[in-house]
């Protein structure tokens, strides 16, 4: 079985990797590129822990082949902060104690960032539905939603 050579961009960095044809983007990121920020909670698109963006669109990296990344722009949790400046969502997650164990946090942050890019002023209900594909078992979502709404407000005021 020969591997496929993929040329892509991850968080703005030109990136190449070799992968098997049936390997998911999640496995390519984690096992080929050592980017373990995206997590596998289910492998079937039901938990959102592997969320990344592809050409700006939020997807589950477990439901996409690594080979499909050719020429695309991939965004992961590792690219969310700018240098030592945390993204407002990252700061608010810490301030609001919106994480307990933290396994769902990367996926939730990537998904929430995508929400705020599309809907800078979401209602609580919109935020809850947008994030319904990101399972969290620790928090009951309360503090996560508060952090997202607070970050949205701060980002609106800053812009």
């Amino acid at each position: 079985m020969s591997k496929i050579h993929i040329t892509t961009s991850v968080n703005g960095d030109p990136t190449e990797f070799l992968c098997e044809a049936d390997e998911t983007l999640l496995d390519a990121l984690r096992d080929r590129l050592g980017m373990t920020g995206a997590k596998e909670g289910c492998g079937t698109g039901d938990c959102g822990a592997c969320s990344v963006t592809v050409d700006g669109r939020l997807v589950c990296s477990c439901l996409m082949l690594g080979a499909e990344a050719e020429g695309r722009e991939i965004g992961t949790i590792e690219g969310m902060a700018e240098g030592d400046q945390l993204h407002p969502l990252q700061r608010k997650f810490i301030e609001h104690a919106a994480l307990q164990c933290g396994i769902c946090t990367p996926g939730l942050l990537v998904a929430a960032k995508s929400l705020l890019e599309k809907h800078p002023d979401p209602t609580e209900e919109e935020a809850r539905y947008w994030l319904a594909g990101n399972l969290c078992r620790c928090t009951g979502y309360d503090k996560i939603i508060r952090a997202v709404m607070d970050a949205a407000q701060e980002m609106r005021e800053a812009s």
Binding site: T24, T44, G45, R57, V59, C60, L63, M64, A132, N134
Partner: protein
């Protein structure tokens, strides 16, 4: 496994026809990758349709819309013209999976996966949508309800693929709606789904209707008796009760981990009423 990414429909068709093994089409991949992961599929080759530009477009066609086979649910939801004409079809497609899944999943894929519980299929059936099927012998147009033949099986011949779903022209005072029942508010497979598409005349009488049910039979059902219960009425309570009764009568579900026979039969009627009210309102009918 081989990964192929053709850039034209012709290439895709000839690759599909030429391959002797288990060759699968990859549109959104939100079903195929789950099957591969669960050891329910172990294809020899996968043909990725998303590198074919024509399949990623929504174009006007004969007053209606041609939705390419690789257009995602999210892209449909962002298309104002499509949403205005076929809100029920778009809302049904937008119910498939999470926001993440919306970024990938497609109507054509949902149709070819041939699940009786597929959300977009009842809406397409009610809309009178057709699938454009391309194969080695040319192109044919097939009503959507004739594509799935049972759970996981389709009427497509070897080497054929669907390159677009075509939604017909939407006339005045016409609209559609889709509702499904799930145990949670998101992320579940439909326990029952129901789509209603209807047209009203100027005084609010229903002149045409199509009603479709999901997850109550081996394939999505078109229920003409249910449509008959609406046509010629003002879609009033009496008509809605008749609609519900027709839908419940048409439902032939099974007991499984998602619901019981009794539940599905009853809720098929409940959803039909609710969907019909929404469609009527969208079509400009009086509340």
């Amino acid at each position: 496994m081989q990964y192929l990414a053709p850039t034209t429909v012709e290439e895709a068709v000839s690759a599909l026809a030429a391959h002797s093994g288990d060759c699968r089409l990859l549109a959104g991949g939100t079903d195929l990758l789950v099957r591969m992961r669960s050891d329910m599929a172990d294809p020899d080759a996968v043909i990725d349709l998303k590198r074919i530009d024509a399949l990623r477009q929504i174009n006007p066609e004969d007053g209606g819309w041609r939705v390419g086979a690789a257009v995602s649910g999210a892209e449909m939801g962002e298309h104002e013209g499509l949403v205005a004409d076929w809100p029920g079809v778009v809302e049904a497609t937008n119910l498939i999976g999470s926001t993440q899944v919306q970024g990938r999943c497609t109507m054509a894929g949902n149709l070819c996966n041939a699940s009786p519980a597929a959300d977009s299929v009842p809406a397409m059936v009610a809309a009178g949508a057709v699938a454009r099927v391309v194969g080695p012998d040319g192109t044919r147009v097939v009503p959507v309800e004739e594509i799935p033949t049972g759970p996981g099986t389709t009427s497509l011949a070897k080497g054929e693929l669907i390159d677009a779903i075509i939604l017909p022209e939407r006339g005045a005072r016409s609209s559609d709606a889709y509702l499904r029942f799930i145990p949670r508010t998101e992320m579940d497979i439909a326990v029952v789904g129901c789509a209603v598409s209807l047209t009203l005349d100027e005084d609010g009488t229903c002149t045409a209707a199509r009603v479709s049910l999901g997850a109550v039979a081996p394939t999505v059902l078109l229920v003409p008796e249910a449509a008959d219960a609406l046509i010629g009425t003002k879609v009033d309570d009496t008509a809605l009760d008749a609609l519900a009764a027709a839908c419940s009568a048409a439902a032939k579900p099974i007991d499984d981990k998602r619901g019981t026979v009794d539940f599905r039969v009853h809720v098929a009627g409940v959803l039909a009423k609710r969907a019909a009210k929404i469609a009527k309102k969208r079509a400009g009918g009086a509340a």
